[in-house]
């Protein structure tokens, strides 16, 4: 089941078309990576989903319905540019934001208590935001994003500004929220966190969607049928179907070779030929990294 669908979204700003016919499907319970270079249109799309702006064409379907004001409390949004009222106290501020999302004061209070215990920030309740460090403010903002238990959580660069320990804490929270049934849309430039967390991705470049689907399928699509082998000995006269792309020495007299096979060839044949010729230490497929895919896909559409 899909929690969110965007259908043929177009957004035009004066002379600049920020989004052009963007259709996406976000499955429920997924961690969905929304990728793209700077200025590709990610933020425009996120703002449309948050009803901050409206699309010029197309429609957004959330939880099976056309996007409407009742959806506000089902979405939690952490913008890339963080901000809180500096002169307000932490507790007061979070209560206010929760109530804007439609929670009653009592509900908000109960939910906040849980988060304050969880993040061990009970002593912060009466502190002013301006007295907190940047990392502490980020934590407060994260709580503000998720405290109303939204079905859809949109995080724009959630890890920027966090030290590794807190980043890990947030990462665990994201996974826990997913396990509890929330769906997370995750917009970032950091491919290692996409690699780690996302199960679905979409790539937007120059206002167009260039790629989307389950991460595994995309990797499958981008794989080059290349394998690597670490071995000792001399690797020569392989059948011509197998192309040795490169060979380089590694440690202790071992060498590493990257070998490409035809799409229809069996990997076992390659292994058999290798065993006959060299002493194999390790063997594996070169699966493209998200980084490779990003660069390749963006590069292809820019040409």
């Amino acid at each position: 089941m899909n929690i969110l669908e965007t259908r043929h979204i177009v957004k035009q700003y004066a002379e600049h078309r920020a989004l052009d016919d963007v259709s996406l499907v976000v499955p429920k319970g997924s961690i969905f990576g929304l990728l793209g270079p700077n200025g590709a249109g990610k933020t425009s799309l996120i703002r449309i989903i948050n009803q901050i702006t409206a699309p010029d064409e197309g429609e957004v379907i959330l939880l099976g319905e056309r996007l409407n004001p009742d959806h506000i409390r089902h979405i939690g949004y952490l913008p890339e540019e963080r901000g809180l009222y500096k002169k307000m106290k932490v507790g007061e501020q979070l209560l206010y934001l929760a109530q804007l999302k439609g929670l009653s004061e009592k509900e908000a209070m109960e939910k906040l208590k849980i988060w304050f215990v969880k993040f061990d920030i009970k002593t912060w309740w009466n502190k002013h935001i301006e007295d907190l460090s940047k990392g502490m403010q980020q934590k407060v903002q994260f709580v503000a994003t998720v405290m109303h238990e939204p079905d859809l959580i949109i995080l724009d660069e959630p890890f920027s500004g966090f030290d590794p320990i807190n980043a890990n804490l947030i990462k665990d929270e994201i996974l826990e929220l997913r396990d509890k049934g929330s769906t997370i849309i995750f917009s970032t430039h950091r491919m290692e966190s996409v690699e780690e967390l996302c199960d679905h991705i979409a790539l937007i470049n120059r206002s167009h969607k260039v790629l989307d689907g389950p991460k595994r399928a995309i990797k499958e699509q981008f794989k080059t049928h290349t394998y690597h082998v670490e071995y000792q000995g001399t690797l020569s006269d392989l059948p011509s179907a197998f192309t040795v792309l490169s060979t380089r020495p590694i440690d202790d007299g071992f060498l590493r070779a990257d070998i490409q096979i035809p799409p229809d060839a069996a990997v076992n044949d390659l292994i058999r030929h290798l065993i006959d010729r060299v002493a194999v230490r390790s063997f594996g497929e070169n699966i493209p990294s998200m980084n490779d895919i990003f660069i390749k896909a963006v590069g292809a559409t820019n040409e």
């Binding site: 700003y13 004066a14 703002r47 948050n50 009803q51 901050i52 702006t53 409206a54 010029d56 506000i72 979405i75 949004y77 913008p79 540019e81 963080r82 901000g83 809180l84 009222y85 500096k86 002169k87 307000m88 206010y96 934001l97 109530q99 804007l100 999302k101 903002q141 503000a144």
Partner: protein
């Protein structure tokens, strides 16, 4: 609707709890009170009794000097030289010497004192002597003082305004003052609270919290919530000022008794009469001022106070709404305080102009200038308040209010369109051309 209420509540509480708000609210009336108290004290200290010794060699002035609250007179029978010697120990504040030939040579009167003599005392003595000499000379000429008194006519013109309701006593001075004070309060509060709205919007924009907020509420709700919240802060401040001022003067009045009242009355009348002096030394002048004061009180009684208060509230709110929307739009359009200047300038011209024009309107509250400037929504909050105490035809008032309502609906619409684009636009130097484009963006 619930969310806009939440926003209003936050905007209101955040400002009302601020230390600066509390200080201003308490300090305002205290300053006014202190101002009056100082003048009150001055009035009280000036009526310390002075003892004056009189050596009357002519023998014509026995009992001509009347003791007053300020001064007591006693007559000495000793020669001047002796009195002068003993003066330091005698306890008198001043010594008056009237020579025998005073009637022929009035300039020979001398006043001695340890320190210099106050002008007030000198005036009193001079007046008593000259009056007596006058009487003597008149008597010699066969004219009694009574004839003179009868011949003196005190012209004190009272102004009347003619209306269907009949003749009403009015004092142009009181009416002008009330009108101008109301207009000035509106002018000041538009600036103070309009700037607060602008700062608030800018704070949200530069803090980047705005994106979080408008993912929960509509930009229009956020803007209106802020404008209404600040309006309530303004009303609260006015109410507290009025209550505290009245309270302070009630308490102060009881503590200082009628002395302060006298000082205050003197001060008010002198101010009303357009004189700088706080203390009225001359009994006649004081009497005249008392007359003005009575006129003022009478005039105030005949003014339609409920109408003025109602108009004040309407024009305060209307003017504030009209301008604060524009101030809010500026806050949304710019990235920092320095950029606000170029946009503030054209917006503030009409209201500054209005307060300048107000001085001409006071002189001619029914002229063409007054009429047109009290119809234009950008100037009407100030100008109409100047005119209202003088009496304005019902249809003019209704039309002006209607136009003001349209005016602030218009500026709010315009501001909202600039606002919703501006708050999400960072790091862009905004021009008027850019702003006009924003107005026509689709949401």
């Amino acid at each position: 609707m619930n969310t806009i209420f939440l926003i209003i509540k936050r905007e209101y509480l955040v400002r009302v709890r601020k230390r600066s708000f509390v200080i201003m609210t308490i300090l305002g009336p205290l300053l006014i009170f202190a101002f009056y108290a100082v003048i009150g004290w001055a009035a009280i200290s000036s009526i310390n009794q002075k003892k004056v010794a009189v050596i009357d060699e002519s023998g014509r002035f026995a009992n001509q000097f009347k003791d007053t609250k300020e001064t007591t007179y006693s007559y000495l029978k000793q020669p001047l030289a002796q009195a002068k010697k003993q003066f330091a120990k005698s306890g008198y504040d001043a010594l008056v010497f009237i020579p025998t030939d005073v009637i022929e040579q009035p300039k020979t009167v001398q006043i001695f004192a340890e320190k210099s003599v106050s002008i007030e005392l000198q005036n009193n003595i001079e007046r008593a002597i000259s009056k007596e000499i006058e009487t003597i000379k008149l008597n010699q000429a066969g004219i009694t003082r009574k004839i003179i008194e009868d011949a003196k006519v005190n012209v004190d013109a009272q102004t009347f305004s003619l209306r269907e309701t009949g003749e009403q006593n009015s004092s142009a001075i009181a009416t002008s003052i009330i009108g101008y004070v109301c207009a000035f309060l509106i002018y000041i509060s538009v600036f103070i609270y309009g700037t607060q709205v602008m700062r608030g919007v800018m704070e949200e924009k530069t803090n980047r919290i705005v994106e979080v907020i408008i993912s929960s509420v509509k930009p229009f709700q956020l803007m209106m919530g802020k404008i209404i919240g600040v309006a309530l802060v303004g009303l609260t401040q006015f109410m507290l000022w009025i209550l505290l001022t009245v309270g302070l003067f009630t308490i102060g009045g009881q503590v200082f008794g009628d002395k302060v009242e006298r000082g205050r009355a003197a001060m008010q009348t002198s101010a009303a009469a357009g004189q700088g002096a706080a203390v009225a030394p001359d009994p006649e002048v004081r009497q005249a001022q008392q007359g003005v004061m009575n006129n003022v009180v009478r005039a105030i009684e005949t003014l339609n106070i409920p109408l003025i208060v109602a108009c004040f509230l309407f024009y305060f709110l209307g003017g504030y709404l009209l301008y604060s929307a524009l101030f809010g739009a500026i806050g949304a359009a710019v990235d920092n305080e320095t950029e606000t200047q170029q946009f503030m300038f054209p917006i503030t011209i009409p209201i500054i102009g209005a307060i300048a024009v107000a001085q001409f309107v006071i002189r001619e509250p029914d002229g063409a200038l007054a009429f047109w400037t009290s119809m234009i929504p950008f100037t009407s909050p100030v100008i109409m308040m100047v005119r209202v105490p003088f009496g304005v035809p019902g249809w003019e008032l209704a039309l002006s209010m209607f136009l003001l309502a349209i005016g602030f609906a218009g500026t709010t619409w315009l501001a909202a369109r600039i606002y919703r684009v501006g708050i999400l636009m960072y790091g862009k130097k905004v021009t008027y051309k850019e702003l006009s484009k924003w107005v026509f963006y689709k949401a």
